[in-house]
Assembly symmetry: C2
């Protein structure tokens, strides 16, 4: 028998909310029949949508609020005035123990600020990180931080390595994920103090992490490591640069296939194989960025995603709850602190 | 009548030197009949290659040295012991006025260190930058710094903006290139001190630069601006992340087209259109990274490139010489300093 879970949803967050949220729940429902949903948002808009979706009526509870966070709202503003917003209430449901995890497709900065304020950090973690997935030659990899922290020191990067490693084990099912630190070269002398310091700490072997060393930008898609660690400034820009190039490629290909009747025919013949490529690189497959380091599970869906993407974000949240993600992070952090103390003692002798 | 130029070549630099260098000169010769070449390297290896290339014999002078820089040599080591290397001598030819520009496909770090030491910085420039090209939806853009400076302050970024703008005008032929600073968001409050400070300085309008503001990673390939400015750590990783994704896409497509006889046939029909996509994204087209900010023109070719790529790097060098690149940079820098003084005086009143 599977234990039932509850996931709270910011039903008003995202470009196409609340419609996409409801449709996402419909898709998620068939994959995750053991999940109940708390829908935070405007009852007058949610009720008619649920009436048209009788398949999910029994697993959904509407929690009415008429306030919501927009894409332009500043995090500080939301912290001051947003306590009755659908985002805040959905996060708060996790803090109160009414939900096991929260999913929102709303404003990333606001969601991070509210989650930090309401859920608090895990003991021993200085900074939260945003982790996401990336398609690679070998399957998928995890990358973090994708933008929660513009500046990071060595200690932050080591914490990201610990959290990312557990995340990859749970969500990608890799027994012993390899971890690399993003840098401008693979030699030990390259890079800034933060990456060199973090690499030195991870190399001591005091932590039970399969540390590969430095990786470069091209190693991300090559799948050289399972977990790519970076500060949030670089990670965000690396991910978006690659996304931009993927879009460029897709546009060039579309132009090419529509440039003559011969290439149109060629497309038709190769279509089923090309659709597979599209699926392998479909951004919806990689939707669901996790906020790591918080005392509670919060997943950010891309604001512009569709129902399938939103359902995938719900899937990531459910997976993390089922596998006791935060408990495992806590255990790893204890090991990290023990290792620190051991090396401090060794240094003192 | 076109004035003759002289370009010095590190004939022993790069993975496939000296063969690729000689073949590159052969391709460049047909496009640039007004260029003479000084080939620095091992006479015993160069002479037989030139004998097989009578078409370029008259424009090539071999300058013998038996020392060369390898890919593993550390920059500091080359500075101490590499004064007789083909790389050093080729750069020195520019310092001595014997050549108008230098091209090398050797070790980037060593080439940068030697170029800085031998050529010195342009007056008023604190740090050199590596600039390169990037394919975009709208054509091509210039991006810098691609790895010369791991850490940069606001002033460095403003200098990069000035140099990159002139570079885009000359090499891409854009009359008034737009300039953006790479950041994690387009709002003014985003990012670190360096990017915010640089944006504030460029926004004053004291510099004759069409400043767009902040751009994000996905804007690079979208071609939102003609010149993308960033510190060398982020720029290097952004460029390589995108390169990695391009390779991933190419591999996925190759797999797709060879997955069945139907898709193989489809490929054959669409082939001529697909070859155009390949050409538009061919890394050899974007070969030739320029070292900006030095008192002399130095172009770095990719170490693994072929003859066509090397010829393109020679083409970039010739273009910069012909258009008096460094003279124009100097004029822009004077304007920058006048603007600085004007705002200092305004502040003092």
């Amino acid at each position: 028998m599977t234990t039932r879970l509850t996931i709270s949803l910011d039903a008003m967050g995202g470009d196409k909310a609340p419609e996409v949220v409801i449709q996402g729940v419909q898709i998620a429902r068939t994959r995750l029949p053991h999940v109940d949903f708390l829908l935070y948002g405007d009852q007058a808009r949610l009720e008619p949508l649920l009436e048209q979706a009788p398949d999910i009526r029994s697993v959904c509870t509407i929690c009415h609020t008429d306030q919501s966070v927009s894409g332009d709202d500043k995090p500080s503003q939301v912290l001051r005035q947003g306590r009755r917003s659908s985002m805040w209430l959905a996060v708060d449901a996790v803090a109160k123990g009414e939900a096991d995890a929260v999913v929102s497709a709303g404003n990333t900065g606001a969601l991070m600020a509210v989650s930090k304020f309401v859920l608090r950090m895990l003991p021993g973690i200085d900074r939260p990180a945003i982790a996401g997935f990336f398609p690679t030659e070998r399957g998928e990899s995890v990358m973090l931080d994708l933008g929660a922290n513009v500046e990071c020191d060595a200690r932050n990067l080591v914490e990201f390595a610990v959290m990312g490693e557990v995340f990859a084990r749970i969500v990608l099912g890799i027994e012993q994920p390899s971890v690399g630190i993003l840098n401008v070269g693979s030699e030990e002398l390259k890079g800034n103090d933060a990456v060199r310091g973090a690499a030195a700490a991870l190399k001591t072997g005091n932590l039970p992490i399969k540390f590969h060393g430095f990786v470069e930008g091209n190693d991300i898609a090559a799948g050289t490591v399972d977990v790519v660690v970076s500060d949030g400034f670089t990670g965000n820009i690396a991910l978006k640069s690659a996304e931009g190039l993927a879009r460029l490629y897709a546009n060039f290909l579309r132009d090419a296939f529509s440039s003559s009747w011969l290439s149109k025919l060629g497309y038709l013949l190769a279509r089923s194989a090309l659709v597979k490529v599209k699926m392998r690189t479909d951004p919806r497959r990689y939707n669901g960025a996790m906020f790591l380091g918080l005392s509670g599970i919060a997943v950010k869906s891309h604001g512009g995603t569709d129902a399938l993407g939103f359902a995938n974000a719900i899937g990531v949240a459910a997976e993390l709850v089922t596998h006791g993600f935060n408990e495992r992070i806590k255990r790893e952090l204890e090991r990290l602190h023990q290792a620190d103390e051991a090396s401090a003692q060794a240094a003192a002798i």
